[in-house]
Symmetry: C2
Subunit: 305 residues, 2 copies
DNA sequence: CTGCTCTGCTGCAAAAAATGCAGCGCCCGT
DNA sequence: ACGGGCGCTGCATTTTTTGCAGCAGAGCAG
């Protein structure tokens, strides 16, 4: 966060690596390129190895630099962890939790969880980043996120799974839609009506695509978007069907405006939501405690297996 | 080893913690107490917490300081690891291995192993510290040793076992001792003669004590020492019997001066030699490779189970 | 080819930080 | 009571870091 001056050189190297150029990094750090350049040079001198390859358009990490940078990033977040541990034993219970997650968590689940957590520990702050599956995992690796909550992740080796929750797919429609009378709906029935779908990188879309591949059905969305909110609003206005997973749904399964009807499991198998962290990393107190809270929350709210 | 100036503050804190006083630490670091004092103060300022409690006779780590120091020590040896990784990919294969071990390893086993390793990697340097079981484990914890080779350790929770080797106890005597004619000797026969023993903290002594406790025999050493070499030399000169474990014996079981005769397993069970490292720590390349070499060596030389 | 721009890098002077010296007040053991 | 150890501070000095201006080199547009 702030200061801790002895690892300023480390932050400088990190910044240069991110910016890809000393001058740009210097600007972000609001120092002169001279100073930054000389610190890099000094660091390379001390190590006896080039950290960056010099290109005509900037710099790039050398092999040694890659190793060093990895170490630097763990070191930086380790220091944060130590700081929150220290704050913790002073009874302050402060710290920071940063989360990378899929869209479905944003409207309801995370706000609720964070609010509940902050009620108990008001000094803890949060960063929440919207990231697709791949980007969320990358965020763990470069320590820009402590926790990732992702739907149907591409399982990366660095991803340490804390929890797996099955998430059935729901069809969202207006309350007076013909299908709204049923408890659960069949996929083929939905597809007789116009539908709105998330774009391909999203897990829900992938599940549906996989489901229809086994059948003679076809997905022919009249609306595509990468924004779930938009899809739901549009479904409302135009009276078409869209799809979402359980955790993204408001209140009960029904709100005043629209209803959510579970799709038969035999048509579309439940997707899987993963909560995870970086393999082998020791989380800061605050993040670890928040992760535990989430785990508890899932135990209570959903059937896990 | 030295340099890497950005973690000088960390080394300073470590030094003060070890010395227990700023002035003493300053002397060791060959700087003024003023400078050191101010660095500590600055560090505490940045952290917003006292790292050291001030006592009339010096300083002592505070609770926060304990946490911080633990982090500092990991950080310091992590940096060493990174440096050797970097050197490694430059093909230099340099680095440093520090070992805490029992006495029995010093005369033959470690010199041989280190020599053989250094033949392959001449740029790797070694520190070898003689430590009893407890001190060796402490050395792992405070990162003053990468590896520990100890006989009959008090199993600490931080100790991650890499290898276990059974080590039978041998009786050492002059070649013309009455018992020297037998292949293996009985403990009760040994105790009919004058004996020389290591002092109580040592594993061999403990094994023998345990062994006689089940019998009517008694250990009545005419010589006690904490130095195995002395015991052996003295046994030679005075023609008395002493005891040692397999790995400490020279060449074959016999040298020109004395012979080693295995004590019947039913009298004195084999002791156990442990090779271990700090739980959860990632060893520097050189140390990891050396540990592997040792593991291989044991596979070839002894029956392991 | 000629400008033009963007890069990393360097000489030199100014600014900032760390250091050492001397000395203060404190507390303990004798 | 007193000497010796301790942590800490004001001030002068030294060392380090920073910023400004300017360099050479490489891509790029014309």
């Amino acid at each position: 966060m702030e200061t801790m001056r002895h690892l300023l050189p480390l932050r400088y190297i990190d910044a240069v690596a991110r910016a890809g150029s000393i001058r740009k990094a210097a600007e972000m750090l609001s120092i002169t390129s001279t100073a930054l350049n000389r610190r890099i040079l000094a660091m390379e001198e001390e190590l006896g190895v080039q950290i960056f390859e010099r290109l005509p358009r900037g710099v790039r990490l050398s092999a040694a630099g890659e190793i060093l940078l990895h170490h630097i990033r763990t070191q930086l977040s380790d220091m944060e962890r130590v700081k929150s541990q220290i704050a913790d034993l002073a009874g302050e219970r402060r710290g920071h939790v940063s989360i990378a997650c899929s869209q479905a968590l944003l409207p309801r689940f995370l706000p609720e969880q964070i609010a509940s957590y902050r009620k108990a520990h008001p000094a803890v702050t949060f960063s929440v980043y919207l990231r697709d599956r791949a980007a969320a995992e990358k965020a763990l690796v470069d320590h820009s996120a402590d926790l990732a909550l992702v739907f149907e992740p591409v399982r990366l080796s660095d991803f340490q799974i804390l929890l797996i929750v099955r998430q059935p797919v729901y069809a969202i429609m207006t309350a007076n839609h013909p299908l709204a009378v049923q408890e659960t709906v069949r996929l083929r029935d939905c597809l007789r009506f116009p539908i709105a779908l998330p774009t391909t990188p999203y897990g829900v879309r992938e599940l549906l695509e996989t489901a229809v591949r086994r059948t003679s059905l076809k997905l022919q969305p009249v609306i595509e978007s990468d924004n779930f909110e938009f899809l739901r609003y549009h479904a409302l206005v135009e009276d078409i069907i869209t799809f979402q997973i359980a955790i993204g749904l408001p209140g009960g399964n029904d709100s005043q405006d629209f209803v959510a009807r579970r799709i038969a499991e035999r048509d579309v198998p439940s997707g899987v939501l993963y909560v995870g962290q970086l393999q082998g990393r020791i989380l800061p107190m605050a993040s670890a405690r928040f992760a535990n809270q989430i785990l508890d929350a899932f135990d209570k709210r959903f059937d896990c297996d």
